[in-house]
Symmetry: C2
Subunit: 462 residues, 2 copies
Amino acid sequence: MPLAPVLARIDADLDLSINRLLELLRIPSISTDPTYKDDCQKAADWLVKDLNSLGAIASKRETPGHPMVIGQIIPPGYEKKPHILFYGHYDVQPVDPLELWNRDPFDPVVEVTEKGKVIRGRGSSDDKGQLMTFVEACRAWKSVHGELPCRITFFFEGEEESGSPSLIPFMKENKDEITADIALICDTSLFDSRVPSITTMLRGLLGEEITIKGPDKDLHSGMYGGASINPVRVLARILASLHDENGRITVPDFYNGVPKLPANIKKQWEALNFDHHAFLKGVDLNTLAGERGYTALEMLWSQPTCEINGIQGGYTGDGFKTVLPSIATAKISFRLVGQQDPFEIRENLRGMIENMLPPDCSASFKHHGASGGIAMSTDAAEFEAARKALSDEWPDEAAFIGCGGSIPIAGLFQGIIGLDPILIGFGKDDDQLHSPNEKYDVESFHKGTRSWARVLNNLSQN
Amino acid sequence: MPLAPVLARIDADLDLSINRLLELLRIPSISTDPTYKDDCQKAADWLVKDLNSLGAIASKRETPGHPMVIGQIIPPGYEKKPHILFYGHYDVQPVDPLELWNRDPFDPVVEVTEKGKVIRGRGSSDDKGQLMTFVEACRAWKSVHGELPCRITFFFEGEEESGSPSLIPFMKENKDEITADIALICDTSLFDSRVPSITTMLRGLLGEEITIKGPDKDLHSGMYGGASINPVRVLARILASLHDENGRITVPDFYNGVPKLPANIKKQWEALNFDHHAFLKGVDLNTLAGERGYTALEMLWSQPTCEINGIQGGYTGDGFKTVLPSIATAKISFRLVGQQDPFEIRENLRGMIENMLPPDCSASFKHHGASGGIAMSTDAAEFEAARKALSDEWPDEAAFIGCGGSIPIAGLFQGIIGLDPILIGFGKDDDQLHSPNEKYDVESFHKGTRSWARVLNNLSQN
């Protein structure tokens, strides 16, 4: 089945495709706010109907929270064609502060801007617009050839923006149905407007809250200052010791399991010519502050970090209070890579802190989640096939990139259904995800749809 | 004029004296709360009337805030007798949380407790009860001998618990009237129930708020973590560097002007056999945490300190947020002694911090007050005379002691009227100053009154 007419159909039907997306965007499916519970149902119903319209057997699956949508297109005789699982989410972020929006977030529109046409509205990029690129690609295949080039299972979630409480039980209970040969996820961004990407490395996350306790109550710093231990001072000493003078993290055995970046990936990243000055300039910074000896992309994607996310102790209101605090607390997090073991690191961190405590101080710890880093086996043929498809669509060659953050669904695909998901997305840095005036470039939507048509084509030829 | 009958009169009239104090305690003169403005006037009126009753020429002096009370007893022919200025304050602290009081804070009573009789009520110790010990001593002298042994100026303030906004202008405008040969202040405590004391060293206070700024907004620690500077980490490093491994403060030239403790004072302090284990045990601590090589009393009274009073940065609510904060703030204070110059220290601190800033970080500072340490010239004869008087009244010899905190009026006496005030008081550690169920031991009141009778006697013989 030739690809060219499928791409032509996508071009011809672009306005119709956008209109379908606008319909979906009009449903305010904010998952975290119970006010919008019925709207989440409506969005799921809309998707079921839309999948049915392109020949899928689709249904809404209730969960204790918002429903999942599962759809399948598995024509008879397709047993030997690859079975592809596609994941996206139909729920969206809340819209506050509403006054910062230039229009009703749920009255989406195509706007002409200086940088080109954009689809403006909550969820346009995250993730309804991205999800629909894949659906529209499938529709074009069906429309031109009457069939898809492969077997497809659609898997849409409605709780991604509210912590995915139903996701793991649902995936475990419906493991057979969602098991496939290849998994695709569309919830990431382009590297830049010329360079498409497949995200193949994601950092894990370990969150710890440390509370140092000294005296049994806040003391008067005149009466006790100089003789009594100050837990903020102890905490400052601990936090200051977490990095050495080169920015290297000092938790014992922390770097166990940190892999050397493969030469081919390192080369690809260098070829991206990432402008870290521009990246930092965007937040009023100039200087790379990570461990010496690494490039910016390595610091962000392939090296682990230790960050203090919050600290509090003593009097923090207006003015001054000469208090000697009883406790001090910090929230710290580690981004982890490769085979770093979050639980081992947690124990080593706790031990290191206990060892630094002076007399009269105790430390208590609260755990805030642990997940290891994720790296896909990019040697698998489907990764290269997908990369080739993207490179054919966009001006520059596609890159395997890393992601400083974590995308939990990626780990679940590995853990529950045993697949390294291929993370492809067409978002841009200025899409205003989770913020007022979210948008999705019409180019992202159009070329994204064309990209998926190409990816389905390439993956079906393996 | 013999002392013995004066002491006998104090003993005989104790109940009458207590009743007068209870009358004053019934007036809720909370200076910080405008609701009680009229009550502050009433308390001042009560004192004017009471001073008149013992032959003083007394009057209420309006200020922009609550009134002062000035009273004088300067009989004809007394030009050569010493002129003594006495300071106390009639305003009291607020009473919240009211539910923690065992009785109405302004319905005072003499209670019999396991430890002896106490006068319970707001202001009983701080400072109405203390103030009245001096008034009652004068009354006994007048009553027995028809005259006092010296010239007296009473100076009562009504804004001590609300920052004394009118004090400096009033003292400057009425300098001639309040100028005297000797100044007495009654707003401090006994060293312990056997050992009376004269507080001759007070630490000064320098308060600084430091804000470290990194990126121009809070960042996502996944997107930026590892490449961007984290101001909490920078602040932790700065705070951790303020003390060396021996607890010595590292601000450049910080110890300039810290005097060596005079041998006689050191000896007196050693003789106090201060039980620092019991002191620390009271707040669930065991180990002295100050600079090595000093005793507990030196750490508390004669050595400077640097304490972190508060710290805040990033996300400090429940749970976890993977934010890389834009700013971090700490409030720190220094207790100063001897000739340490608070403004020089402030500049050196700021310079030290500026020097520690990595690229992309800026520091801003907010000043929260500066006062130097105070030390009285205890060589002056009146100090020894007063100490002797106290030693005669109490079981053990009186000591010249230090005070970890600051008493601003003491500095004003030095600065405005050129006198080293003699700080004598009879409060106890368990008086619950500023707290619910404030009390003053009847013994403090009784022996306090007798002490002042003796002090007046001794000071008049110089």
